[in-house]
């Protein structure tokens, strides 16, 4: 069923020297003629021929550098990222892509390290792609298990029933839910239950509260264990009861103290920075709002030092728990229901953090939801990266600094010169609505209330 992901990260050839990324971008532009015509959704790469491909994008991460605690700055190379979200297996997806677009891939990857080249056999190219896949730290899917074909068939069913309903209502006869249901309900069901993703029932308010509690317990458990362990060890070593309790709390207090010290130092560094001259973001904006969906590609350097790395690891572990315990039963990521797919991917062994998402609506509305609904979660992740607005205790302030956070996000956003969506006119809300409708109509159980499915038209 639906929703696997590949994030293929390849180095831009060092032999090309500095500016290699520029030449790569030129190659991308040659392939993607429509960067000059952003109102067109036509694609030079025949992504649509890859069966089961939801979204695809190429994005270029510029070369950069990161501070090390000791020694000189570390150079971070320019990289090309190909991100794919698809149904089925990785090998199958890559093989189909090679079949559909070998010529274009050869042009693009001529600028990348280690590419087998245009004369290589397809399996060698496939292995090259798969061996460069980087596992995301978090991968979120808006409608779990949804396949591309299910998006299309459920949408077609809804459109068909809606048209029938319009025709009937225009006749002006008095109708009841039962009479409409009798007239419109397709028998046998057009889509069988087996062709739909297994329903992940959205949790009730009560269940959600329990799930939130469960998540808090899961996240707190390792800390409690750690406290117990150190406390008991101290006790075993002969410490008094008071000292053992103190010893139990010590590691957690120590971690927090370290974090607060880091945050204070970062805040001072931010305050020292001069106000930057305004930057022109038209290059990233030029491809936005062509259809109802948009892509965000965003890359930041992780703050140097072991503490930030450790915190980031813990945070991503907690976020993964949250996605599986809470978010998939709420149908949103941090309260944001307009995300088709989102993933955080580590680059350069964790020196940089890449965020890719495919979302509905405008950048401004997406960012507004970040600020209004998901600020704590996002701050806990991104406050460990360079330039993020001042944050306190990992979750406070940070992304609540509406103006500062939006500026930072735009500033760290990178171009997405090639982006593909299999269903550019469907929102997550549409997909979920049409899926629910199809599930109600495909049900083997006794006829559900006609009013329920009629309400989804």
């Amino acid at each position: 069923m639906g929703g696997s992901t590949l994030t293929i990260v390849t180095l831009v050839r060092a032999a090309d020297g500095p500016g290699g990324a520029g030449r790569l971008r030129a190659a991308l532009a040659v392939v993607q003629e429509n960067t000059a015509r952003p109102s067109s959704l036509a694609h030079a790469i025949a992504f649509h021929r890859v069966k089961g491909l939801h979204f695809a994008r190429f994005t270029v991460v510029e070369e950069g550098e990161t501070q090390r605690l000791f020694g000189p700055k570390k150079y971070l190379p320019a990289e090309l990222v190909l991100s794919l979200v698809f149904d089925g297996t990785k090998a199958d997806c890559v093989e189909q892509l090679i079949l559909a677009a070998r010529r274009e891939l050869d042009i693009i990857y001529a600028s990348c390290e280690g590419y087998p080249g245009s004369k290589a056999e397809a399996p060698a190219v496939r292995d090259y792609f798969i061996s460069h896949d980087v596992r995301p730290l978090v991968f979120y899917q808006g409608v779990e298990g949804m396949t591309v074909s299910a998006v299309e068939t459920t949408a077609a069913l809804r459109d068909e029933l809606r048209a029938r309903l319009d025709a009937r209502l225009h006749r002006g006869t008095a109708e009841t839910a039962a009479s409409l249901g009798r007239a419109l309900r397709p028998r046998p069901p057009i889509i069988a239950a087996a062709d739909l993703p297994p329903p992940v029932p959205l949790a009730s308010e009560r269940e959600l509260r329990l799930r939130i509690l469960a998540w808090i317990l899961v996240v707190a458990a390792p800390f409690i264990l750690l406290a117990l362990l150190t406390g008991l060890t101290a006790s075993a070593l002969g410490a008094s009861e008071d000292w053992s309790i103190a010893a139990g709390f010590a590691p957690i207090v120590f971690l927090f103290a370290l974090l607060v010290l880091h945050e204070a130092a970062d805040a001072r560094a931010l305050a020292r920075q001069a106000k930057p001259r305004p930057r022109d973001f038209s290059r990233v904006r030029i491809v936005e709002d062509v259809a109802v969906q948009n892509a965000l590609s965003h890359c930041v350097v992780v703050k140097p030092g072991i503490v930030r790395r450790l915190v980031l690891r813990i945070v991503f572990w907690a976020v993964r728990q949250k996605v599986s315990i809470i978010e998939r039963h709420r149908g949103s990521l941090g309260g944001i229901a307009s995300i088709h797919f989102a993933r955080w991917v580590p680059l350069d062994g964790g020196d940089r953090l890449l965020f890719l998402s495919d979302y509905d609506g405008s950048w401004e509305s997406y960012l507004a939801e970040f600020v209004d609904r998901a600020s704590t979660g996002l701050s806990s992740i991104w406050s460990n990266t360079v330039g993020f607005p001042e944050t306190w205790l990992l979750v406070f302030k940070g992304a609540r600094d509406e103006g500062g956070f939006k500026k930072w996000t735009r500033d760290k956003q990178i171009e997405t010169p090639i982006w593909y969506s299999a269903y550019p006119h469907r929102t997550v809300a549409n997909i979920r609505n049409d899926l629910r409708l199809s599930q109600l109509l495909a049900s083997d159980k006794p006829t559900p209330e006609d009013a329920a499915w009629l309400g989804l038209l």
């Binding site: 009841t176 401004e364 509305s365 103006g403």
Partner: protein
Amino acid sequence: MIAIAFDDVQGIILRGYKELIFARFVLFGVSDAEAARTWLAGLPLTAASERDHDTAINIALTWSGLQALGVPSGDLDQFAPELREGMSKDPQRQRALGDIGKHAPDNWQWGGPSDAVDGVLLLYATTREKLALLEARFLEGQNTGVSISRKLESRALQEGSGLRQFWFREHFGFRDGVAQPRIASGAATSQEQRRGITRPAGDANTVAPGEFLFGYANEYGKEADGAPAGLGQNGSFLVMRQIEQDVCGFWQFVRDKAHKLDVSPVLLASKMVGRWPNGAPLVHAPREETAGLEQFDSFGYAVRDPDGHACPFGAHIRRANPRDTLVTGERESVQITKTHRLIRRGRSYGEPIHEPLDPSVFLPKLDALASAVAGERGLHFLCFNTSIQRQFEFVQQTWINSPKFRGHHDSSDPITSPFDGGAFEMPGIPAQRRVTDMKSFIRVRGGAYFFMPGIRALRTIADLRP
């Protein structure tokens, strides 16, 4: 909470000048900076603290105007990107605002890519004669240093006499300008409150002053960062758009669609607006045009109309201001909505197709009117906010234009969307009814983003030396 400096805020931001029913918006370019600064220094700008006047003058400048008047680049850089880039030049902004096709800035009467506007002088008066005198006094017979590129005329479409002379309609025949945010102010006097400018915070329609004025806390508890600290104080961004309305076309369309659905045209059009022509909101008057609710605005949707059976989710007023039903929680909805409010100061232009401008009266004569009326009519849309991106552009793009607003499949604003196509959905029992193949009866004819400085900040600009 800091009290608002009413004597430093230009009047039109906080007051509608309802009694001044005539207005003229003079667009100008700066031709001689030195002379223009002297001219600015001599303008007696109307402050929000002033009362009982029969004329008013306010002024706003575009980014190019600020530049032409010699505002230093360090300050110019601090203005928000929307102001610096302007309304009409960026292709992404054109898509977001819907300024494409017949609305494209290339076809605009003013403000398009080849028509640089540096500023706008807003003149208001109780009579035509006083308006002419006002203009003569401040624009004629002197070296103003500005060249006038266009004058936009306006007369409010009054509903009647007596109290009703200050009830205005727009050209389609609906009551306009009812819903306005109130501004939270710690020092609101009872007089200010009675006049409706400010309220103590806490109410669903009361918004932090920083949403509309620079130098005050906004809904996120921070000062808006779209203008430089000194020059921005007590200023605001003015968004101006000239929107032509095809009134007969709109009503012929509604009449045909209503006939197919077997409902009255006035009901169908009211469903599209969310209010009856007299202003009564559908949430409280679902069946007929009830008298006594004309000015009524303190309502929500969550309790009375959670399913949109009275006022459809896609209705104009439910899109432009979703109140307490944007997301699942009422309080969160209200809080989010507060970060996307606008102070609207629009004025109609052109002659109404019929007087009185009441659809029930003119609908029977519609076809005769359609062949008889000539000329252009519409709305000079003016609004104030401190973040054009988060307020005006967001509302236009995400709530008005988006075919996907609130889970819709393909449905833009039935009244003010610039796009043809899609459906207007009316939830009901046993199933939702739709008007398909929707059409847009507005056309954008001009527009620009301005900064309206505080009165002291304008003196600072006037005192600049090259």
